[in-house]
């Protein structure tokens, strides 16, 4: 066994870390980016592309320079450390995963994503879908030699600024059937979308569509496989992001405990506080370990991949709550303010449990996959 990163990956880590730190050195910067038209900085996105951050998420078979579980984890952990809001998850990972997993991969589109020229969002969630892979109500039908879509999609990350959207829709069967789902590519300008910020400071949209033209990417078993694969990749990325966030929360808290004085001494000198920091440290190491395991098996068969990702994401949900809540509590009032960064980290950490399956969802999925 070897738990260390290769030289190449260390370099990737260092370059990306430096770049993020230079551009996201202040929590106010993030609010500025969120206030921009697209809910993120186009310049930063373009620079990320030039530096190879986006291609780091995509396999060399499709024009990228990375795409392994380790690459994804390295990049997303750094995204977490900076609370970066650019479309790395939506375009960089979820959509490129689907576009590369279909029978005739859309390599040109993937290359445009890598170049920072094209944004594609993945729209699978619906208002009554609670993270399920196959709960799809939106409808697809074939008419006059063309595919058409009807329905609505919810909580679509960067769904407002995307040029194209990948939509899951039901070709046949009942709402909860595993079969009969198709994945479709559509131009976003056909879609009526309502955009909003999320509580943790990201941009998302509700999409409504009525008889819009669509291109079929894949259907049935392959479509379900693609959805599961994209969701698993997303869950891995978010888990790695959470590791980065947890570390920042821990570091900020420890730093505060050393500087904040009450009763004539630093509050970190109290044993009861020290023990809580030890609990946090221990749990963060647990999560880090589970995420390392999940990244190392990302390219194996899907049941091992998904089982380990579910283990990581379940831990992220449970430990994330602990770290977010303890960071705020141990800071005291200062952590309740908008101005101080720890609240923004805590909010993201909590809301990661509302994306790509929460702790309960992944606990149930782990049970299912480990009993097989």
């Amino acid at each position: 066994m070897d738990f260390s990163l290769s030289e190449e990956r260390k370099m990737l880590q260092e370059t990306v870390a430096r770049f993020f730190e230079n551009n996201y050195n202040d929590i106010k910067k993030r609010s500025e980016y969120l206030d921009m038209n697209d809910g993120f900085s186009r310049d930063f996105w373009k620079e990320s592309s030039n530096l190879g951050v986006i291609s780091g998420l995509i396999s060399p078979s499709f024009g990228g320079l990375g795409g392994s579980g380790e690459d994804i984890s390295i990049i997303f952990e750094l995204i977490g450390k900076s609370l970066c809001i650019e479309p790395f998850l939506s375009s960089g990972l979820l959509s490129s995963t689907i576009l590369s997993s279909i029978k005739n991969p859309k390599t040109e589109l993937i290359n445009q994503i890598i170049d920072g020229e094209l944004l594609v969002s993945f729209a699978h969630m619906e208002m009554n879908n609670r993270y399920e892979d196959h709960f799809v109500e939106s409808k697809a039908f074939f008419e006059d030699e063309n595919w058409k879509l009807n329905g609505s999609k919810s909580f679509v990350i960067n769904g407002d600024s995307a040029d194209k959207v990948i939509i899951s829709a039901r070709i046949e069967g009942k709402i909860n059937d595993k079969n009969g789902i198709g994945l479709f590519l559509v131009d976003n300008n056909q879609i009526n979308n309502r955009s909003y910020n999320t509580i943790d400071g990201y941009r998302a949209a509700e999409l409504n569509f009525d008889n819009i033209d669509a291109e079929l990417l894949c259907e049935d078993d392959l479509a379900l496989e693609c959805i599961i694969k994209a969701n698993s990749a997303g869950a891995l990325a978010l888990s790695a992001e959470a590791v980065g966030i947890m570390q920042v929360c821990f570091d900020l808290t420890l730093d505060y405990l050393k500087t904040r004085k009450q009763f004539g001494k630093s509050i970190g000198s109290f044993q009861s506080i020290q023990h809580r920091m030890v609990d946090m440290m221990l749990e963060i190491e647990q999560v880090r370990s589970a995420v390392m395991l999940a990244s190392s098996t990302f390219e194996t068969n899907s049941s091992t991949r998904d089982k380990n990702i579910s283990a990581a994401k379940n831990l992220v949900g449970r430990v994330g709550k602990l770290i977010a809540e303890e960071s705020i509590q141990l800071h005291g009032g200062i952590a309740m303010t908008w101005e101080y960064s720890v609240a923004h980290y805590a909010k993201r950490l909590i809301m990661i449990d509302h994306l790509m399956g929460d702790a309960d969802y992944h606990r149930d999925r782990f049970k299912l996959l480990s009993s097989n």
């Binding site: 969630m125 208002m127 009554n128 879908n129 609670r130 993270y131 399920e132 709960f135 919810s154 909580f155 709402i175 909860n176 309502r194 909003y196 910020n197 999320t198 509580i199 943790d200 998302a204 509700e206 004085k261 009450q262 009763f263 004539g264 509050i267 009861s272 506080i273 709550k321 809540e325 705020i328 509590q329 005291g332 009032g333 952590a335 309740m336 303010t337 908008w338 101005e339 609240a343 923004h344 805590a346 909010k347 909590i350 809301m351 449990d353 509302h354 994306l355 929460d358 309960d360 606990r363």
Partner: protein, 398 residues
């Protein structure tokens, strides 16, 4: 033992409930129910109604205009207010300063301030915490220097809840810098419109403006605004902190939040079925309900003991700890129940008169925001860590 409310108590509950039904405007309970931002006028409307009815000073002795309710009746009153979705009673004047003045104020102060509190003429704020004095309140730095017929006040207070509405603020200030911190503190009443007082908003993690910083630069405060004796403010401050403890567990709020949680988990779906049918989730709700059930009895035990004249000691600290944890757990399960519906955040949804389509069900909007906002309750009013110190110090003999 008898855990039933008496006939008299039930009659009282009906009276309170009917009065709220008659006097609380629908638009206002609607706003409270939807977690919309309340204006100064919204709070005042409800408090003026209470004044007219003679119910505003429900903790005061009857001779000063109090209600004469016993502890159980106070508890019932609190519960009905929450059930009716009334705004909260702004506590700084009537529940905090009032009792201190009654106990320690001069006749002149009592005659002037108490009727004004009863009639809601002054909006009071609390000037306790400072940037460097939170848990360790006695280490406060705001000074009041004796200048003959006035004090010259300099310093900064923080976390001043609704201070942007306040006309007056009661402050803990240092009047003697050369003694042990607790011995050099005085209790001073300051007009917010005095030259040199400045209020700066603090925006909290949920994007809301509820708390403030209050700055004092060479503020002249007349000597007659000193409450009690100079350098004895710490005694009054502690009296204020321990005075009103029946409501500390927040049982009525947690009960209403639990009902809300049950409603939301019936409407939220998991795999096409109501979430409440999920055995794991409903077990979590059940355990929360069990905690709350026990805490309500614990609270009533403490409240009845207080009614018999026994001062609540460490029980109020224990109730504060459990009360905040239970309340936070309700907000956590509500957030969890929503699943991805917890993500959207529309700040304009909390403005009065907002009538666009919400994203998802209407109840979803405030839930994540509330979860984050409620992190404060285990921090303020003496953090849970401080409460544990109090209990350990007072009861273990270690």
């Amino acid at each position: 033992m008898n855990f039933e409310y008496s006939e008299k108590e039930e009659k009282f509950r009906t009276e309170v409930r009917n009065w709220l039904k008659e006097t609380l405007p629908k638009y206002l309970s609607e706003k409270v129910r939807k977690y919309q931002r309340l204006t100064k006028e919204d709070y005042e409307l409800f408090m003026n109604n209470l004044s007219k009815k003679g119910w505003i000073a429900w903790h005061w002795p009857e001779e000063y205009g109090g209600t004469g309710w016993n502890a159980i009746e106070k508890h019932i009153f609190e519960e009905e207010i929450v059930k009716a979705s009334a705004p909260r009673i702004v506590p700084f004047g009537v529940n905090m300063l009032g009792p201190v003045l009654i106990e320690f104020g001069s006749e002149e102060q009592k005659n002037y301030y108490l009727p004004r509190i009863l009639n809601n003429e002054d909006w009071w704020a609390q000037g306790y915490s400072e940037p460097g004095a939170g848990s360790d309140l006695a280490s406060l730095k705001t000074t009041a220097i004796d200048k003959g017929d006035y004090y010259l006040v300099n310093g900064q207070k923080t976390w001043t809840t609704l201070g942007h509405h306040a006309d007056k603020i009661f402050c803990l200030v240092k009047t003697d810098l050369n003694v042990k911190p607790q011995l050099g503190i005085s209790f001073l009443l300051i007009d917010m419109d005095s030259p040199g007082v400045e209020v700066k908003p603090i925006i909290t993690l949920d994007g809301e403006h509820e708390v403030n910083e209050v700055w004092f630069t060479d503020v002249k405060v007349p000597k007659k605004n000193l409450v009690g004796k100079e350098n004895e403010g710490w005694t009054y401050a502690k009296y204020l902190l321990t005075f009103e403890r029946t409501g500390i567990a927040g049982v009525p709020n947690s009960k209403s939040a639990l009902n809300h949680l049950k409603m939301v988990s019936r409407k939220s779906m998991k795999n096409g079925k109501p979430l409440i049918e999920d055995p794991m989730f409903s077990s979590e709700v059940a355990e929360l309900e069990i905690d709350l059930l026990a805490m309500e009895i614990f609270n009533l035990r403490t409240v009845s003991a207080a009614a018999e004249g026994k001062a609540p000691g460490m029980e109020s600290s224990l109730l504060k700890i459990k009360g905040t944890l239970v309340r936070q757990k309700t907000t956590e399960l509500l957030r969890k129940a929503l699943g991805p519906q917890a993500l959207p955040y529309l700040p304009e949804q909390f403005d009065e008169g907002w009538n666009e389509m919400p994203i998802g069900p209407e109840y979803a909007g405030p839930i994540a925001k509330q979860y984050f906002n409620m992190r404060k309750i285990s921090i303020y009013g003496g953090s849970n860590e401080i409460q544990k110190n109090i209990v350990a110090k007072a009861s273990f003999g270690l």
